[in-house]
Symmetry: C2
Subunit: 324 residues, 2 copies
């Protein structure tokens, strides 16, 4: 079974979640409805809802409860993206103008606050305190990660562990929590929900590494934005950290990074991309992503065999190898 088959099988429920997403952000306030729906319509893979639903299969699969988790996770993801776009001065995301580009930074900040508040409103419909605690802890870590990201902009001396901690906070935690809360909402029990949390964490790490590789090696058509956006914003990713370790590249790559920083990202970055792509950085990053995928699959071992587990394994492989 392919990944499209999983999406096809979930289609009805994902459509339902799409409607709920729409409903949850609509407001009598015209501007907020506009900005929020602009974000919603820009689309996305709805990866977090998919993980919520797949994890919910391990218990009593009840869309009435699962939808609250799925919608909330996706809204938190969206809210953090709007705030990130302010920080990064991003003009496009997924081929669409960002809220801050179409409106302004102030509108983007408040749109993020609003979507975030809606996410809480949706998840507090469920009365399970474990759900709220797990979510709020993740939010604290995510917000620390946001600030840490600023500190590490253009910081070419950062270590692999700095990078890994950063993507944990930026991406892996919310995917981990999506899996965990999907299981908890379905009353799958603490053991299963903990395993799924770990699974989500490993998949999330692989996902972000793959994302960062694609930013360097993908085409604009594949990734919906020009390659090299990360370095323009000062975001030093894993392949670059690895490339910097190569003595034959280190000096020229450092010079390139300094030049890009000095130009505030507004300069030709083709030499930078050439250098990184000629290094072993991409390959090594892909190898690490693959190791995370293997760990994700391994952690599922104690779970009952069958289609639900196969779904998780398949989607893990997809995440680690996707080219879009």
């Amino acid at each position: 079974m392919k990944i499209v088959d999983i999406y096809a099988r979930l289609k009805k429920d994902l459509n339902h979640i799409e409607k709920e997403l729409d409903r949850s952000v609509r407001s009598e306030h015209v501007q907020l409805s506009e900005t929020s729906l602009h974000l919603l319509k820009a689309g996305g893979k709805r990866l977090r809802p998919v993980f919520v639903l797949l994890s919910g299969q391990f218990g009593r699969y009840d869309m009435d409860r699962l939808k609250n988790i799925a919608v909330s996770m996706e809204l938190i993801h969206m809210a953090s993206l709007v705030h990130d776009d302010v920080i990064d001065d991003s003009d496009t995301r997924r081929g669409q103008p960002t809220v801050r580009a179409k409106w302004d930074n102030r509108v983007a900040m408040y749109t993020g606050d609003y979507i975030f508040a809606r996410a809480l409103e949706v998840i507090t419909q469920l009365a399970d305190p474990r759900i709220h605690r797990s979510m709020s802890s993740a939010l604290v870590e995510m917000s620390i990660g946001e600030m840490e990201q600023i500190r590490l902009f253009f910081h070419s001396g950062q270590r692999v562990r700095d990078y890994l901690l950063r993507i944990k906070r930026k991406t892996a935690l919310l995917i981990a929590v999506s899996c965990q809360l999907g299981a908890l909402a379905a009353e799958a029990g603490d053991v299963i929900s903990t395993k799924l949390y770990q699974y989500g964490y490993y998949v999330g790490m692989a996902f972000q590494i793959r994302d960062d590789v694609l930013d360097l090696s993908g085409t604009e058509e594949q990734i919906g934005k020009p390659p090299g956006s990360d370095i323009r914003q000062g975001n030093i990713t894993l392949p670059v950290i690895y490339a910097l370790r190569q003595e034959d590249l280190n000096v020229e790559l450092l010079t390139e990074i300094e030049r890009i920083q000095a130009a505030d990202g507004q300069t030709d970055i083709s030499r930078f991309l050439e250098l990184v792509l000629s290094s072993r950085g991409v390959q090594r990053a892909e190898a690490l992503a693959e190791r995370y995928i293997q760990k994700a699959i391994q952690v599922l071992e104690p779970l009952p065999a069958g289609r639900h587990k196969d779904d998780l394994i398949r989607i893990a492989h997809f995440v680690g190898n996707r080219s879009y």
Copy 2:
């Protein structure tokens, strides 16, 4: 008994909350600890914690539970102030440089996100779903209010009801929720917590009207910032709306507002202040604040007589008449 006596009696518990506030925002992340503690140390009246504690007196007064509400409410208030300062380009608050002035707008945005996440972490320690639902509904309304505020900047045609809805979202709701959740955390029952919600709402309305009057008529020493800050930011408050209704002032006042808007607030505003202070606007605004205080006291009628109720009545009077 005077207001200082209430604070004196609550002193031990407020000190405890102060310590918890400090503890709750501390992080291994140096920058976030710095910005958050900078905010905490700028002080404030800690009005929301006071309302939480006073409301908690109507049930089983348990600091272990009440402190979670009090800390969370104050943190939400702080987080919204940091984001407001970004929108308003404010350089000082309570006589201290704002986070955005001392650091920058990006740091301020993420500090707000962080403090907000900490607020959720603290309140989700309590397992009562009513608490989380009430809080998240208030947050949605507050964030709509933030955006609405931008739309109404320098909008001299706005009505009294626009203003009242704005200050409801900006101030009254969080004070209402502070009272309500204080009562709920103390298991005071639904009737009492609903009455206290209404009380907090009315007091909050009076508080903000008084705040807006002081911005026009107070001295820099009293209010910790130069008078007229509101109009510089485009914030048209109740006394101004009333003054604009006076035919003898309308034309010149409109011209002044347009002039201040054209100068982006960076101009002499003494004539504007003169006009508003010579109008019946301040007096009428004060009269409305007083009516809210009367309503706040009235709504307490069904509550048991005694010291706890007297405290609420006294603090309501204080809020409506304070000069700082």
